[in-house]
């Protein structure tokens, strides 16, 4: 299609330039990682809580979930959701007598896949975090007449946050990089755009370097923001 265009044109914003597409891809990368992080947080917190309850069946199930989703390659999870969801939804719809729905968008299956894996790791982080608050402080808070919400806000959260933020920051970085796996579903995030551009222009080196630069930008910016947040949280946790 195009022959021997200079790099500045290939990466630029003209009609044959992929600059805009790459940037849009980077935006989608962040969106996928963010959505997966949120899902992972909600599910991970739930799993951590469940494992703290005294219901052995649930605790067991949560533990097994963690072992399985941390022991299986993320790529397989993405594959399972991308190829398996249409069939699963069709079966579900059939149960309620509805016609089979159309396949969910690749963004959704991608986020859910990364989110499910992220939840398994976040559960471990939350489990450790919940143990970080000394029992005595919680009892003192209860004795002082604090409501559960105030107890959480004033006593538990600041200290848990301090413990939990560095490993969560790590998990965020992994989410950001794992989002590249969603490229196999065809979603036009950064990895996919660079792959399509590399293939159709037959200049893989140029586009993969550009993609690497953009990923490095994202991970470095995340590092900086997380470092700021960690310093803040250390202050809130008090001289610990």
């Amino acid at each position: 299609m195009d022959d021997n265009l200079p790099i500045i044109t290939l990466l630029g914003f003209g009609p044959q330039g992929w600059g805009l597409a790459l940037l849009a891809g980077a935006g989608l990368t962040v969106a996928v990682a963010l959505a997966a992080m949120v899902l992972g947080m909600v599910l991970g917190a739930a799993l951590a809580t469940v494992q703290g309850l005294r219901v052995p069946v649930l605790a067991r199930a949560a533990a097994i979930y963690g072992v399985v989703l941390r022991g299986v390659p993320e790529l397989l999870v993405v594959l399972l959701l991308y190829f398996g969801t249409p069939g699963l939804l069709a079966a579900l719809a059939g149960l309620f007598g509805l016609p089979p729905p159309e396949s969910p968008p690749a963004f959704l299956t991608g986020c859910v896949a990364i989110g499910l894996v992220s939840a398994a790791y976040q559960a471990e982080v939350f489990r450790g975090g919940l143990l970080a608050v000394p029992r005595g402080q919680i009892e003192a808070a209860m004795a002082a007449g604090m409501t559960p919400w105030t107890r959480f806000r004033r006593v538990i959260a600041p200290q848990v946050l301090h413990h939990v933020l560095p490993p969560l920051g790590n998990i965020w970085q992994f989410n950001l990089k794992d989002s590249a796996l969603v490229s196999i579903t065809g979603l036009a995030e950064l990895m996919r755009v660079s792959l399509v551009a590399a293939g159709s222009t037959r200049r893989p080196f140029v586009f993969f370097v550009a993609a690497m630069a953009l990923y490095l930008l994202l991970t470095t910016a995340s590092s900086a923001l997380l470092h700021r947040a960690e310093t803040r949280s250390r202050r809130w946790a008090g001289g610990q």
Partner: protein
């Protein structure tokens, strides 16, 4: 039902045939990554090579392995210098490219693990060794390395588990490993759940075995350490 069993049996057989590829990649990857990591840590200690080591760790930890594999396989393969160079017979092979990307990527993570463990070796022990008059080599072998191994093992074990899982990305550059076979069967038959379960079971077995072995080693080391 018979059809289902036949399908499962055929898939299991195909996966079993691909298992040596996954194992080879994991073992060679772990070896390569660990050796590279040791080199990186050593380079980090020197003034001249530290920026190089820092840059390596920055790039390989800051970008996805999937992209790194595509870069090594397609990116290098498009360069005339590589195609006409002496390494082409090796770099031509998808498995070699997968191993290269895997080793370089994991070396960055392992190097960070080793650096953290190195910093955690109790200063007092090193000073005691100096006071005893040990030379650099003895100090390294008798004091630092044993402590390093004990401190680094949990995190190093984690990285090994991640490495085993990361071998699955080789399937994206035409390597027919366990995941590659799974993708092929799914794409040709649309029976996702069964194939996924079979492939997942293989990886779970591998990571479970690895984790158990690491726990055993950790326990053995703890027995020999001071309370």
């Amino acid at each position: 039902m018979n059809d289902e069993i036949a399908f499962l049996a055929a898939t299991a057989l195909a996966i079993a045939r691909a298992l040596p590829v996954t194992l080879l990649l994991a073992l060679a990857g772990a070896l390569g990554a660990s050796l590279l990591a040791a080199l990186l840590v050593a380079a980090h200690q020197t003034r001249a090579l530290r920026p190089l080591a820092r840059a390596w760790i920055f790039v390989f930890r800051g970008t996805p392995l999937l992209l790194q594999m595509a870069m090594v396989y397609y990116g290098l393969g498009a360069l005339d210098a590589v195609r006409h160079g002496p390494l082409w017979p090796l770099l031509r092979e998808p498995l070699v490219c997968a191993w290269l990307a895997l080793a370089c990527c994991c070396s960055a993570y392992i190097a960070e693990v080793l650096r953290a463990a190195l910093a955690a070796v109790p200063r007092g022990q090193i000073e005691a060794a100096l006071a005893c008059g040990m030379n650099r080599r003895t100090r390294l072998i008798r004091v630092i390395v044993p402590q390093l191994v004990r401190l680094a093992l949990p995190a190093y074990g984690n990285e090994l588990v991640m490495l085993v899982k990361s071998t699955s990305l080789a399937s994206t550059i035409t390597v027919v490993d366990v995941t590659g076979v799974a993708q092929l069967v799914i794409a040709h038959s649309y029976r996702t759940i069964e194939v996924f379960c079979l492939a997942a079971a293989v990886y779970l077995a591998l990571t479970a075995a690895l984790t158990a072995a690491l726990r055993l080693i950790e326990r053995r080391l703890a027995q020999g350490a001071l309370p």
